[in-house]
Symmetry: C2
Subunit: 203 residues, 2 copies
DNA sequence: GTCTATACGCGGATAGAC
DNA sequence: GTCTATCCGCGTATAGAC
């Protein structure tokens, strides 16, 4: 049984990476099997069908990260510091692990109902709700729920734009640096919430 | 030749809608042919292969919209009014035409290099650049390029989150209304740029 | 320009031996 | 729990008649 658990883990790790890279449809069961160096038929011992494997891979990739994000938001630190730390973490998460980022985005875009429901539940209950709560304590300038959604949108959106920007002249590609984006988003959100206002003129 | 042009148009319209709905891999040439009520083989008279059809469909869906957005940004009106009108238009564009929205997002996520390059070129040259220009004239509180990217990110991100929120309790689903989002984004951006500051407390 | 017919490989999935 | 062998449908794409 110990062996089977680790095979299962290996399958999930390989599948997550492949799905993130090429999409669910772009990765066959044969591809996953090859990455783990087992026969395709063996996958079906661990997962009922491809749909079940996809769901498990999504869960595998997501659940661990959600816990970390939640911890940052609930730490014993000043509110604003927690918010900034969360933004830093989220930007890093996406840019340092593009596979994870794409997997998350894909979950919302390509997911069937079951996958989207899982994604929503995990992310919302684990991270979205505490973030909105923190924002509501920080300021009443903007709606907390919408603002929390805006933070996710900004990080995910900039990440996606960065992929597109690769095909563009240098001056636009400079926009896609994680540090610069992190600073920009913190500044944007901080200013709109009437927190301390760092000025951020163009370099 | 007149007949062939209109068949071509019909193919592009059908293909755009299908691709937006189910993704490029999720839509077969047979599917497209069925939607236009012709035989699959006939598609290959109009488009060399599936890749060519996808690129043409993307172009078909995108080019017209980019012109409209550009016009709004270059209109003879006060800067802030133009910015707000643009945000309104972009939010409406995504929420009233989810097929188009998904197609655009997919272009960035699933596209091969050629598709991403086309997407980047059209959107950047047509809309992104004028938007950044407008922002730079409005305020120097934030970097114009990053802020322009933030506006796209916010609209696209909220749109994607809205799809996920469908599976959630009512109080969160309320966040996904186009009007509310439009107001929120305008407020968020306006406040962060130090424009007139409408307060937007939670309802 | 559209059709019928068809080639051919890849995909998911199962049966059953070891 | 992993293997070999295999089924079968669907996908892209082409040939060639009308």
């Amino acid at each position: 049984m110990a062996a089977s658990v680790s095979t299962r883990e290996a399958i999930l790790a390989a599948a997550s990476a492949l799905y993130a890279e090429r999409g669910y449809d772009g990765v066959s069961m044969r591809d996953v099997a090859a990455a783990v160096a087992i026969q395709p038929a063996s996958l079906y011992h661990h997962f009922k069908d491809k749909d079940a494997l996809i769901l498990a891979a999504l869960e595998h990739a997501l659940s661990a990260k959600a816990v970390i994000g939640r911890d940052i938001l609930l730490k014993q630190e000043p509110l604003e510091q927690r918010l900034n730390a969360f933004v830093d973490w989220l930007v890093r998460l996406f840019f340092d692990d593009p596979a994870f980022a794409r997997m998350t985005i894909r979950g919302a875009l390509d997911g069937n109902d079951q996958r989207r429901a899982y994604l929503a539940k995990t992310v919302i209950e684990g991270v979205f709700a505490p973030l909105a709560q923190l924002i509501s304590e920080l300021s009443d300038a903007l709606d907390p729920g919408l603002t929390a959604a805006s933070i996710f949108s900004l990080v995910a959106g900039h990440f996606q734009l960065a992929s597109t920007f690769v095909h563009l002249p240098r001056e636009l590609r400079a926009l896609a640096q994680a540090d610069a984006l992190s600073a920009h988003i913190k500044s944007l959100i901080g200013r709109s919430l009437d927190l301390a206002k760092p000025s951020e003129p163009a370099p």
